[in-house]
């Protein structure tokens, strides 16, 4: 880790780079925002903004279960619970004829209420409030190692899943006619989202994590003509907003997660204004 710090400090001769906690946050952003940019493309194309929002809500229950059980770490319990929750919602959506909105609404609110109920058990709710806002400056060198592994895994999964997800995003019956197992592909994507969301929640916070899954691709859609441009713009906008947000937050002493989201939103409005010049 020391050698990475030395290299980064040589490359970035700025005042902020003198702090190890800033370098950790910087590395974490380099690893995590491109993943948000990638997954965001299909969250928006598949109209899953509400679904990804519910993953954040489900996190309440996941964390509460972890803390109540005591023996497992809150993070592990959160990841396992979120994956199960995501796949379960996908399954119910496939089985039921009720509208997607209603189904997600039911599960999302149940999960949030159940979580709050369990967290408030014994009157100790305050110790969970850090999850609401998150703190990117709390990233440790161990976290960065874990993030690097996740980065590679998500990239590989995106390589395997993407083409079939793309056909599914156009039209589900058309995808089925091409022999694409829609339930399995959707579940795998939902699980991937759940993993990324639950790992990042401690840094970004439950309240705004969904913005990172919607804004990059929403901005990219305004200017992209094809899949490659869509991905490139989405990933770059996520990465640029992440770094800009972190630095602004450092110099003006604000919450980094929120600042990143505000910068992303700014990028969205700029692309929205540019839309007439790009999309025909």
């Amino acid at each position: 880790m020391t050698s990475i710090y030395t290299i980064l400090q040589a490359l970035l001769p700025f005042e902020w780079a003198g702090h190890h906690f800033m370098l950790n946050a910087f590395l974490a952003i380099l690893l995590v925002t491109p993943l948000f940019g990638l997954l965001s493309t299909m969250v928006v194309s598949n109209r899953m903004a509400f679904f990804s929002d519910s993953l954040g809500h489900g996190a309440f229950t996941g964390i509460a279960i972890g803390v109540l059980l005591g023996s497992v770490s809150p993070l592990l319990s959160l990841v396992l619970f979120s994956v199960a929750f995501a796949v379960f919602i996908t399954y119910i959506q496939n089985k039921s004829t009720a509208s997607t909105d209603t189904i997600i609404g039911v599960f999302s609110s149940t999960a949030i209420a159940l979580g709050l109920m369990m967290m408030s058990y014994g009157g100790g709710f305050n110790k969970f409030s850090s999850y609401l806002i998150g703190d990117i400056l709390s990233v440790t060198p161990d976290d960065i190692g874990a993030l690097a592994i996740i980065f590679v895994l998500v990239l590989a999964a995106w390589g395997v899943l993407f083409n079939r997800l793309l056909v599914l995003s156009i039209n589900a019956s058309f995808a089925r006619s091409r022999g694409i197992p829609s339930f399995w592909i959707q579940s795998a994507f939902a699980a991937l989202l759940a993993i990324i969301v639950s790992i990042s929640i401690q840094w970004v916070g439950i309240l705004i994590i969904n913005a990172l899954l919607v804004l990059p691709a929403a901005a990219a859609r305004n200017v992209a003509q094809n899949v490659k441009q869509y991905h490139a713009v989405s990933v770059l906008s996520a990465l640029a907003s992440g770094i800009t947000g972190l630095l602004l937050a450092y110099y003006f002493n604000m919450a980094a997660g929120a600042t990143i989201v505000v910068v992303s939103a700014g990028v969205f409005f700029v692309t929205l204004a540019l839309k007439p010049y790009f999309v025909r």
């Binding site: 109209r47 079939r164 793309l166 056909v167 156009i170 094809n226 490659k228 441009q229 025909r280």
Partner: protein, 213 residues
């Protein structure tokens, strides 16, 4: 009302032939017209597992151009799906259904929502396929003139098979006349009630018979 069941594909001698390749052109594809997906993207996604977002199309581009040329749509390769007209979209979907070349081509009211010029071009292409390619074509249509002009075999369906045979036989049949007398009345009533789809009668026409070896 989805129906489930088993279909067995047999050749002319009644032998089981395994899984035939089926090309399917859906009726009026509903999709998000703002999606940043080009015609080339959707072809690549259907034809390979190589992730579209990462790799250039490379050799695949020539194959896609060839497929599109078959339906007179090679100029559409870089167009966004949402920017295509109804007729262009159906031709692109037909080109997709023809790669790989299928044994059986299913066309489910492929020209609903296509303008007159697009409609004629689409039928010309299908007629051309019927002539040149070794495949069975099943087309579901309400367009009786087109059916009479292009089909080898016609099956009139109305909650079951009403009658079947060559176009001449079917259109001369009293039952056909009766049904379409009813249908004409029904269409008028539907238009009044603004119901978009009719289940009253479907005409299926296997252009080269149902099976082949």
């Amino acid at each position: 009302m989805p129906h489930t069941g088993k279909l067995h594909y047999v050749d002319a001698k009644g032998k089981h032939t395994g899984h035939p390749v089926i090309g399917y052109v859906p009726q009026y594809l509903r999709f998000d017209v703002s999606a940043p997906t080009s015609v080339q993207d959707i072809f690549c996604a259907c034809l390979t597992r190589r992730p579209v977002w990462l790799f250039p199309a490379g050799k695949l581009r020539a194959r896609i151009e060839k497929s599109l040329a078959r339906v007179h749509a090679e100029h559409l390769i870089d167009r966004r799906l949402g920017a295509l007209s109804g007729g262009e979209l159906q031709r692109v979907l037909l080109a997709l259904a023809l790669d790989p070349m299928p044994d059986l081509l299913l066309l489910d009211e492929p020209v609903s929502g296509v303008d007159q010029n697009g409609l004629e071009l689409f039928y010309e292409i299908v007629a051309d396929l019927r002539e040149k390619e070794d495949m069975a074509i099943i087309l579901i249509s309400h367009d009786l003139n087109m059916v009479a002009k292009h089909a080898d075999q016609v099956v009139l369906l109305n909650k079951g098979v009403i009658c079947s045979g060559t176009p001449e036989e079917v259109f001369a049949d009293a039952r056909t006349k009766h049904i379409f007398g009813l249908l004409a009345g029904e269409t008028a009533r539907e238009a009044a009630a603004d119901i978009p789809e009719s289940e009253a009668a479907e005409t299926a026409e296997p252009m080269e018979g149902g099976e082949r070896g």
